[in-house]
Subunit: 264 residues, 2 copies
Amino acid sequence: MPASVEIINTGNELLDGRTFNTNGQWMARRCSSKGLTVKRITVVGDSLEDICAAIREALSRKPDLILITGGLGPTPDDMTAKAMARALGRKLELNEEALKMIKRAYGLEELGSSREKMAWLPEGARPLRNPVGMAPGIMVEQEGTVIIALPGVPREMEAMFKEHVEPLLDQLSAGLARFEAYFLAYGVREADIADLLEEVAHKHPGVYVKTHPKVEEGRTYLEVYVSTMASSSSEARQKMEKVIHELSEGISSRGGSFKPFRPE
Amino acid sequence: MPASVEIINTGNELLDGRTFNTNGQWMARRCSSKGLTVKRITVVGDSLEDICAAIREALSRKPDLILITGGLGPTPDDMTAKAMARALGRKLELNEEALKMIKRAYGLEELGSSREKMAWLPEGARPLRNPVGMAPGIMVEQEGTVIIALPGVPREMEAMFKEHVEPLLDQLSAGLARFEAYFLAYGVREADIADLLEEVAHKHPGVYVKTHPKVEEGRTYLEVYVSTMASSSSEARQKMEKVIHELSEGISSRGGSFKPFRPE
């Protein structure tokens, strides 16, 4: 079983559609390509209750990892640390290591209360160094789930993901990675090959196939995505070979054509 | 209290990061600009259990509207109708109106089982005409919440949203709309104005203010977003005027500058 991840992205700007949830997609891509399964992405606003509920619900599904973005800054609507503490049933405490990180980031010896707020972490949490911004990240473990909160500013999130999350992903993935292949199918509709897809899925449970109907200049076709988890590309090729052959044969026999495709 | 919406987007391609969740953002933007509050966006994969759980959880929070995308097609991994039925405690039944829509869409008198599958809706549900694709949408009401499922293909979703969802949004919004203004603040950091933001939020609960730290060519600044719900632009202007004045004065007195900004 691949390790499982849930992602929680916070911020009103994600819920009113002003901002694309690029963080969610970026993190999901990274986790998946490392061989982990992202089970759910939840977007909630800047609300203590809503963030707390989302963390609690994610924890109840016992994923290996919960990744959270946003709400770590100094303003009053930044409340992820508080929501984490509440969801975990822990107190907030002034973390000395976090305090040092923040003083260093601002180049200040004395922090005001809004800056100091960023050093109040759930009991037992570890601050994560932010190499490009002010707010440290937060890492804490509860009942076998690692919970990591990173800032919502994409360049901060990405830098911290590479530094703090990727080593953990390598550990969780146990040497597996995701291998993918894309095909285009012309001359058949999804409904024409529904039985074929069911048959292939049943015969080869370790290989995932999904079709996406597309239209281009009035011509309809299917994009077919095939993927598997494997420890090497030769193992992946071996696992996917038969599936691709069966899809190709099945689509031909239904009067369609099937060819490899390289997405952008 | 503005009417509340939850959005559930389904599809493994959204969880492995292959595809941006453009549907979620697009729907959130439409609902927000009509004056509704989007409370949560949930992304789950093509799993009966996961879609069912997401619908059940959303229902338990009693929003006015739940919008679902994806999983309405003819392939075996399309299981939104089944998940809806299970979450609502209803049976699936062959809907005659849906059957007619699908026959018309394909131009066929006899549908195979995979095509007919799209006409099996939860008991008491209404099919929604799909003007550009094959699968009808699904509309059903339970305990004061309207639940609408639309296809995941963006051009189908958008066309059906305009035809079936927007009239409902107008009804739910009761004449309110969201009005927005953007500003840029230079020379102050978030931590410098955290107290000002708290004060303004406390004095003017009907107006929403949020800051977003940005960096451009090494220069840091804040994007400031101000919004309110109102029934006219003059009412909105009146509500936002004082807030904008207080922000401007507060930022100036802290040595910064504050000016209007038009986002792309």
